[in-house]
Amino acid sequence: MTVESISTFGNEVDSLFLIILIVTGFAFVLTEGLLIYFLIRYRHRDGSKARYIHGNRQVEILWTLVPGLMLFGLAIYQTGAWQLIRQILPAESEALVIAVEARQFEWHPTYPGADGRLGTDDDIEAPINVIQVPVNRKVIVRLSADDVLHSFFVPALRVKQDAVPGRPISLWFEATKVGQYEIACTELCGLGHYRMRAFLTVAEPADFEAWLAEIEAR
């Protein structure tokens, strides 16, 4: 994948992509190669007759079992990454928990105030379409939507999650590199869908604290 990966689990996703690319690439070369070879080798020649063969039990078993086992192996292999990304969230005590609400056509982040918890009076509403997080720290995003479906896509983090009205969904990531990255909406949400763009700013912890203090003061 051409977008640089800056999350802790990004490399797992990328290496899984590569493994599947190798496996399917092998299958691709094998099948298309045989196809082309057969087309040339067995093209019609005058007076020739095809072989009278209806099948072969051994090869049927072979080409059922081998790809079957490979596919099943792939299925088992990648459950670990899925579990890591989606099924087990880090403990809230060791993570920064923020809320992001999607609306036509903007993203509204909210940060916890001094008490470190969301949903209290001291919550800090950050400017829209800018989500700032500290580097090398686990972040839990409570994603929600106000009107229609949206999807929170941060290519650099290898994160994508639909925001569903009426069903808040938590996701997590840990960014490992300081910088500014783009966030896109990937669920058709109306005519402004294409410009529902936001930024993820990954900052040094001190810079992040300063930024948060500044917007709190505003």
Binding site: L34, R51, L71, L74, W82, D147, Q161, C185
Partner: protein
Amino acid sequence: MDSETATISADGHGGHPAPTSFWRKYIFSVDHKVIGIQFLFTSLFFALIGGALAMLIRTQLAWPFREVPGFFPTSGGVMLPEAYIAMVTMHGTIMIFFVIIPILSGAFGNFLIPLMVGARDMAFPRLNMYSYWIMVPAFLVMLAAFFVEGGTAAAGWTSYPPLSALADMVPGSGMGQTLWIVSLLLVGTSSLMGAINYITTIVLMRAKGLTTFRLPLTIWALFITAILVLLATPVLTSALILLLLDRGMGTHFFLPDGGGNPILWQHLFWFYSHPAVYIMILPAMGITSDVISTFARKPLFGYRPMVYSIMAIAGLGFIVWGHHMFVSGMSPVLGVTFMTSTMMIALPSAIKTFNWLGTLWGGNIHFTSAMLNAIAFVAMFIIGGLTGVFAAATPVDIFIHDTHWIVGHIHYVLFGGSLFGVFAGLYYWFPKMFGRMMDERLGKIHFALTFITFNLVFFPMFILGASGMPRRLADPYQYEFLAPLQGLNQFMTYSAFVLFLSQLILIGNFAWSLFRGRQAAANPWQANTLEWATTSPPPHDNFETIPVVYRGAYEYASPLIAEDYLPQHRWLDGATPTTVPQPAGD
């Protein structure tokens, strides 16, 4: 369905008196061949509309918001974002519901089933006529949506609520969306009528001796497809009705404001629409199998594994729908279940591919236009299938979901697969349908141009997808990380124009051959199945006498005779059918 509605002729294979008036013969015909051809012409017409929409979409992706001469007069020739998402929605809807499904099941299913099973017509000819004529209002309603206030539906062909349920969320969510729902309800009814007819005909009206394991794979595929239609479509119908109630009656089935659940729509929609993917590919697989065996002049390799894998695809097809919903907010535990079943459904597809290769191995391959397109089906289906493995792997899908990777994947399956299968079937059965041969030279030129430009348009989509380019963006280059992709998109768009123009060759060949093509013999390809046992085109009642079947459909290169083909209905003196060697692979 009264006993008097279905006329069973004396020989028990259906049939009805030949009509005499023009209206009964060509317009309100109950003849399955005429109905099939009606479906063929209408869906080819809609293919042009759907293709034209695709050209507009490609134009926008290459040069966003640049003036398109002759289009969009109200906005100065510029395609506004609302127009773009309406184009995307209608391209998908039309291509799926008005082109691929009706051309495979409606056109080929109708035309071929009675001919290939040796019946005089469908079990219920009048119901068959209704199944076409209920499509006509569906067509009209969908076309009318282009002219209502707010334009056509614009919530994507999947029409996820709340966007599709709330009239003020997007311009097309008004009247356009309602018409979209009504049109699909009509399409669903038509499909159901067809499915009941196909299943009944295939199960109960086969010629003598045509046992289930002597049926050609085209029939097997259409049969299993009809079962999918029968059991999946009603679920879409119920979902569409609930959506209609949400829009018109103030209910909140899919609207969280009143406690409803938007994801419920996705479950119901994909419960239909995933099987629908197989409704769109299985008949093309059947056609491909028959064409490949005929022109390789060789028995189909692994007939029974081929049949069983069609069944396996259909069966598993009902339990993989959640792979469209990995990032939807569906429970991640279910994600694992759906990922595993999805990986497993790749297996029967792989088995089919290997058996096609096995059929070509040791063959005597004739490169007719039909054969070239069938080979292209196999070659492109491999790519479509393999790229699906990436999407099945949940962690990878997180990244490629709703990107152009998925767009590329679906087009490799539905264009590279289904549509090449349709082309193959068209060149193959055109002589049977119209009694004339299509021009082979034009056919090959059309094939070569289509095959090359198809890959030039759609293969780069995997690069776009791996670069994270989301689909349905009216202007992707707003994003810095996508800006470098514009050049590639322009290249794809130029290729798409050539691809679209290449189809004019097919239309020209079709029209020319219809009137000027060489007269076709009864069995121009020296094929084995029953439709070739009658004249081209067949008479009103299909067969002078219903043929009797003595063997399977793929006895090419048989050592028993000098010719390299042995039709299913040909009686061999001195050779009882049991002396024909049994396939070693069964």
